[in-house]
């Protein structure tokens, strides 16, 4: 299935309203040939994982700029595991202090992209690490 499109859920967990990055990346992912589902704001980890399950997503991209990443991101990974969706690639971005990144990675978030990351870097990471 070499030409099956990568399906990605772009999600905004919590109450944070900063969605410029999430919307921009949704467009960039679509241009890169991915199938994109943008959840909109105010998503709970349960809602995000339900969307991943329903959509049979390959990737979940989480965006947070309000400082709740340490709470929400690991919770999403945990719930994905519960639903036996272990092979879904989880990536994150936003305003995330570098010192928080090791712990997020340990919790199963594959990569964290800070502000100013060139979008091709993100696309390349996803295409290089998504389940085949």
């Amino acid at each position: 299935m070499a030409d099956k499109k990568i399906k990605i859920i772009v999600a905004k967990p919590g109450l944070d309203g900063h969605d410029r990055g999430a919307k921009l990346l949704s467009r960039i992912f679509a241009e890169a040939g991915m199938e994109v589902v943008y959840t909109g704001l105010r998503q709970t980890p349960e809602m995000i994982v339900e969307a991943a399950l329903q959509e049979d997503a390959d990737v979940v991209g989480l965006s947070s700029l309000s400082g709740v990443h340490s709470h929400f991101f690991p919770k999403v990974v945990e719930l994905l595991k519960e639903k036996k969706l272990d092979d879904v690639l989880v990536v994150g971005g936003g305003i995330i202090p570098l010192e928080d990144i090791p712990e997020l990675k340990k919790a199963g978030i594959a990569e964290i992209f800070g502000p100013g990351t060139p979008t091709p870097t993100i696309v390349d990471f996803i295409t290089g690490n998504v389940r085949s």
Partner: protein, 559 residues
């Protein structure tokens, strides 16, 4: 207007310069790029001359400070009279943490306060609501009840400091708490000065802290405006905000155009409620962003002031000059800050501060250089405040009014931006007004397209960004960042439990029942909200009454 003969001379001179001096240089060496554009994509000419402003009519287009059309400023003496209000937006952790920061800022010479509420308060949830998990005290102060408000303003003289509150969908509740607190302290409402953001349309367009659908939420907005007009005469009952429109990716002209479109919608809504335009318009205020391109920003502010004055006079028939004055707060551009080489942000903020001042703002927040990494630390906040004080005291920008006026470039750019604003307003009118344009996603899509364009230009290198796509360095990770204790959520939940157990629950129930009944009618909700918060109803409980009645807003996504 410039004399025809003079203009002819300038034209001849320019042509001979182009063939001679300029031509010689260009034949040897081209310019750095084919086309120059501002950060907003506006084409920029090599040179501006009297020809660029040949139609400028001094009396009609510029006039004098404090006079229509206010291009040169809304006050006759501007900063020669007094400086703008230096007002740092601040709030984090508990009410107590934030109170300590306010007192520190006031000690350092800040002249006004600006409250940042945490997201649960902004979205109308209490700290113990499931959706508040992880958010408590993160981006602002955790305020659930009037008891938190008492702590927040402990030992702060509310009759001497003006207070701005960034609260929108839940604005009525927080203003009710503030007014009740002032009453407790024995301060009469006519002594209170400040601003409440109360701009729900931009929440729907781009900021995301909406609660109710457009109709009912606009009713709460206009109830607050009407209430203040009658009872809190010095209060700015709305701050129509372009700040977040710009942050989410718009150009400078779009920021001004869409903000004015929102301003038109609010003005019309108040008129539709039967209010006379001059009874409320003097208390409408605005809030804008400022980026690093100084001339473009100065032109944006001047164009906006001029256009708004015309809107109020010509479209709404305002007669009171104060109704025609666009008074505004400015915050430097959060989105322009980079986490790379973070100290560079101090310089960005410095240039932005200069632009805001040269543009004629009434109050200003300067971002702290570490905001691309975390909530601002105390040291970084101090540099930000000092930046304003340096521009005020050392730069000379405040010694004369509207210092960029008469620059061929800035005047031409002012005209160009005003024409762009006018184009958007006409287009939105044709669509059926701001609410329709928002509902159809027109405004959102325009902003998203600009954001996309900007990203592409950064990635192609067409736009240089120091530390991001040029002059890049390896650097060690930042340390010493401000962190909010995750346990604060439990502390606040405990406080709420105690409040609910100890308050007079019969009085509380009665006040909420009354609020529900009043909200079903056309009556102004403010008095009932004030009674409810005095009976210790929480932000979440008041907002839930309306959630039941009005339903919740679910945006369409236009990705």
């Amino acid at each position: 207007m410039i004399d025809k003969k003079e203009l002819e001379k300038v034209k001849k001179g320019r042509e001979s310069w182009e063939e001679g001096t300029l031509g010689k240089t260009l034949s040897k060496r081209g310019e750095r790029r084919e086309v120059f554009t501002s950060i907003s994509g506006t084409p920029i000419e090599r040179l501006y001359t009297p020809e660029s402003i040949k139609d400028l009519d001094y009396e009609k287009d510029l006039g004098f400070p404090g006079d229509y059309p206010y291009t040169r400023g809304v006050q006759p003496t501007m900063y020669r009279g007094r400086f703008w209000t230096m007002r740092q937006y601040a709030g984090f952790g508990s009410a107590k943490d934030t109170n300590a920061r306010y007192r520190y800022l006031l000690e350092q010479g800040q002249t006004g306060l600006s409250v940042a509420f945490h997201l649960p308060t902004q979205a109308g949830y209490d700290s113990d609501h499931p959706l508040s998990m992880g958010e408590v005290g993160k981006v602002g102060a955790a305020i659930d009840s009037i008891e938190d408000m008492q702590i927040l303003f402990d030992q702060i003289p509310l009759d001497k400091v003006t207070v701005s509150m960034t609260i929108n969908a839940a604005a009525t509740v927080l203003l009710a708490m503030y007014l009740s607190l002032a009453e407790e302290k024995g301060i009469s409402p006519d002594k209170l000065g400040g601003t409440i953001q109360n701009d729900v349309l931009k929440e729907i367009i781009c900021r995301g802290q909406y609660i109710y659908p457009p109709g009912p939420t606009m009713r709460l907005t206009t109830d607050l405006i009407t209430y203040c007009q009658k009872n809190v005469p010095r209060w700015n009952s709305i701050s129509v905000s372009g700040y977040h429109i710009r942050e989410s990716g718009s150009t400078a002209a779009q920021e001004m155009a869409f903000t004015i479109a929102d301003g038109i919608a609010y003005t019309q809504a108040c008129i539709d409620k039967g209010m006379d335009v001059d009874s409320f318009a003097p208390r409408l205020s605005f809030f804008f962003n400022v980026f690093t391109n100084v001339c473009e920003e100065v032109a944006k502010f001047r164009a906006g002031r001029r256009y708004w004055a015309k809107v109020m006079k010509e479209r709404f028939g305002a007669k009171d000059p104060r109704s025609m004055m666009m008074r505004y707060h400015v915050q430097t551009g959060g989105v322009t800050l980079t986490y790379q080489q973070v100290l560079n942000n101090i310089v960005r903020v410095g240039l932005q501060t200069y632009a805001a001042v040269a543009g004629g703002c009434q109050s200003l927040h300067t971002d702290s250089y570490d905001e691309a990494l975390c909530l601002p630390t105390e040291g970084a906040v101090l540099v930000a405040l000092r930046t304003q004080q340096m521009v005020a005291e050392e730069s000379g920008a405040c010694d004369t009014i509207d210092p960029f006026a008469g620059s061929y470039y800035v005047e031409a750019l002012t005209d160009q931006i005003e024409a762009e604003i006018d184009g958007y307003i006409k287009k939105i009118d044709e669509m059926g007004g701001t609410l329709v344009a928002i509902d159809e996603g027109y405004i959102q899509k325009e902003i998203q397209n600009s954001s996309y364009q900007f990203q592409k230009e950064i990635e192609s290198g067409d736009l240089a960004y120091v530390g991001v796509n040029k002059y890049i360095m390896e650097e060690p990770p930042a340390t010493g960042l401000l962190k909010v204790d995750m346990a604060l959520g439990d502390v606040e939940a405990e406080k709420l439990k105690k409040l609910r157990a100890e308050r007079d629950n019969a009085a509380w129930q009665k006040a909420l029942d009354n609020l529900r009944e009043v909200s079903k009618t056309e009556e102004n909700v403010m008095p009932a909200v004030i009674e409810a918060v005095k009976a210790k109803a929480t932000v979440g409980e008041v907002c839930d009454v309306w959630r039941e009645l009005f339903g919740e807003y679910r945006p369409k996504e236009f990705v």
